[in-house]
Amino acid sequence: MKQPILDVTGLTMDFGGIRALNSLDLDVHSGEIVALIGPNGAGKTTFFNCITGIYMPTAGDILLTPADGSKKISIKGLKPNQVTEKGLARTFQNIRLFPKMTVLENVMIGRHCRSKAFIFGAILRTAATRREEQDILEMSYSILEKVGLAQFANEFADNLPYGAQRRLEIARALATEPLLLLLDEPAAGMNPQETMELDQLIKQISDEGQAILLIEHDMQLVMSLSDRIFVMDYGKKIAQGTPTEIRKNPTVIKAYLGEEVDA
């Protein structure tokens, strides 16, 4: 069997006396869409924050297999920007765009860690810098076209409608050329029409071979997109499997709906 892109083993995170994540195992293979679901407060976003370097996990390991299939590298304890450089890019549950930058510039920021012009390059504007800048522009623009925001390229990000802002976050994350794209509740607050468009967009990205790990509450979206689902409750993994398996799993139903009480 092929190596998973992301391999998380025994991930534990304590906040003081509270164990937010309890020895969690999770893996994502290339080209897969994996969903992470669970009731509110189950620790899903904490999990994202741990693997993207915002929190330092108490125990466990996070391994990433580089694109060339060479040896796994541990990304535990790296800074968020280093994690992104290694190939994990994320979106945020509450939108975190750069509001006073144009839509195009927002995506160009995503190219930052894949380019290297610095002070002197910027001042002297050498041939190499110009070429790099041109590449950034073209790549960013083509990503905008892919997510359907090209007509807004020169608008300020905060002037975009809500659904478009969500898609811009995805575009920005895609610009970092991630091995694995992490989406934190991409459909939160969207209307049915926007959710449908999002569903199509995620499928389209996935068809291009992009591995995706998403947190989502919209069950319809989760069931239609995911290849595999992990279910969490109180910081623990309570189930994993294909959408059909999860739908029938009694533990999952209990976690979401509570137990039936015999009269």
């Binding site: 920007n81 930058m101 380019s115 390229a153």
Partner: protein, 408 residues
């Protein structure tokens, strides 16, 4: 337009002001005659004055609200100067006129005026330096004058002790100031907003106090005098020629600074700074090294302050700690805020307005600080984005993805 309620409100505000200013404007004690003079008419003037200011204030507020409702499209908000700069022909004419004026300026006006203009140009560069830190990277720095002082004292001390010349020290002063920028940058990496402002304020004061109290090294409050003026391949200048020379040097420095800052702003690094200002967490999550980006912003900003510091020492031939008080930092910050954060043209005009205005309004010099404060308060209320808000670079795309034309 003005409702009865607003009039009533204005009336009470006036009354309140009369009450507040009563001890100052109405009562006057005559210590010789041992009498108290009650100047009641002053209270009346105060009331009328306050009432008028209140109405004016309401009127502007009304107009502002109305304007927002009327034109929501972006075109209207782009100021005249930006519209001029957008068209290449108009821009070239504009730059040509400015350049011609700058060249003939010292020949049209007196030496005194030239000197004042040189000072204003120094503040332009200081403003552009601070603009990198505050306007682009969004790091509120209240101790910027420290780097200016470092530059000035670098020249003063090296000139005094080792007899080094202006041209040798100009880059050195910048570099030493930049390393002080790094020095300040390290401890404040984790701080933001108010906390950052307080630490930088402290840093500015620390530098000044060291300069004041480390007598053997800096000659303390009495300062260092007889610093050499800038030379030109060993030529000797008379005082007047030297002022002229310094003026042209400053013009050159301003041009270089604008050129560099403009390029930085449109580069990968400039985008990273702005992203850092907009959202630190998202910025890191997009793979930008927060530490490196912040440190570079601090040290590049400080670099320009250091360069201007050397210029300052060379121009005045005398430095002492009194030139580097918090007030200087506040003025430089006001330049950036008044002009428009992140906007080069805004900072340039902001500096010229703030530095030249007090010089030409000497008659009102007593009310200088009052007017200064008043202007800033009004700016914050009516135009928080500054006189000339920064407009982001836009790009025009042709059909084929290969033909992407950057458009300023």
């Amino acid at each position: 337009m003005v409702s009865l309620k607003e009039l009533k409100n204005g009336f009470f505000i006036s009354l309140w002001f009369v009450f507040l200013t009563f001890p100052i404007v109405v009562i006057k004690a005559d210590p010789i005659q041992r009498t108290v003079i009650w100047r009641w008419h002053n209270a009346l003037y105060m009331a009328i004055g306050t009432f008028c200011v209140y109405l004016l204030f309401k009127y502007f507020q009304y107009r502002k609200e109305h304007q927002v409702n009327r034109n929501d499209d972006q075109e209207q908000t782009v100021s005249l100067i930006h519209r001029i700069l957008q068209k290449p022909l108009q821009r070239n004419i504009f730059i040509g006129v400015i350049a011609a004026f700058a060249v003939v300026f010292p020949h049209l006006f007196s030496t005194y005026q030239t000197n004042v203009m040189t000072t204003a140009l120094m503040y332009v560069v200081l403003g552009l330096g601070l603009n990198i830190v505050v306007g682009l990277a969004g790091l509120l720095d209240l101790g910027f004058v420290a780097f200016y002082a470092v530059g000035a004292y670098t020249y003063a001390l090296l000139n005094l002790n080792f007899g080094l010349g202006f041209w040798q020290i100009l880059p050195l002063g910048g570099l030493i100031a930049a390393s002080f920028g790094l020095l300040l940058g390290f401890p404040v990496l984790r701080l933001r907003g108010d906390y950052l402002a307080i630490v930088t304020l402290g840093f500015g004061e620390i530098i000044r106090l060291i300069l004041e109290n480390w007598g053997e090294f800096t000659q303390g409050p009495s300062g260092i005098s007889n610093i050499s003026r800038p030379g030109f391949f060993g030529m000797e200048f008379s005082l007047e020629q030297s002022i002229l020379y310094t003026y042209y040097l400053m013009i050159l420095l301003v041009i270089v600074t604008i050129f560099v800052v403009n390029r930085l702003q449109d580069s990968r690094l400039g985008r990273a700074w702005i992203a850092l200002r907009e959202d630190e967490i998202a910025c890191q999550a997009m793979g930008i090294d927060k530490r490196k980006t912040k440190l570079v912003a601090f040290s590049l900003g400080a670099f320009w302050a250091g360069i201007v510091g050397v210029m300052f020492a060379a121009k005045t031939t005398f430095v002492n700690p009194a030139s580097f008080t918090f007030l200087e930092s506040a003025i430089i910050l006001s330049i950036v805020v008044l002009g428009g954060m992140g906007s080069i043209i805004g900072v340039v005009l902001g500096a010229l307005i703030l530095i030249l205005m007090p010089e030409y309004l000497r008659a009102l010099s007593e009310y200088r600080m009052l007017a200064f404060g008043g202007i800033l308060v009004c700016m914050m209320i009516f135009r928080p984005q500054g006189l000339f808000a920064n407009i982001r670079r836009t790009y025009k795309f042709e059909k084929q993805p290969t033909a992407i034309l950057p458009e300023k």
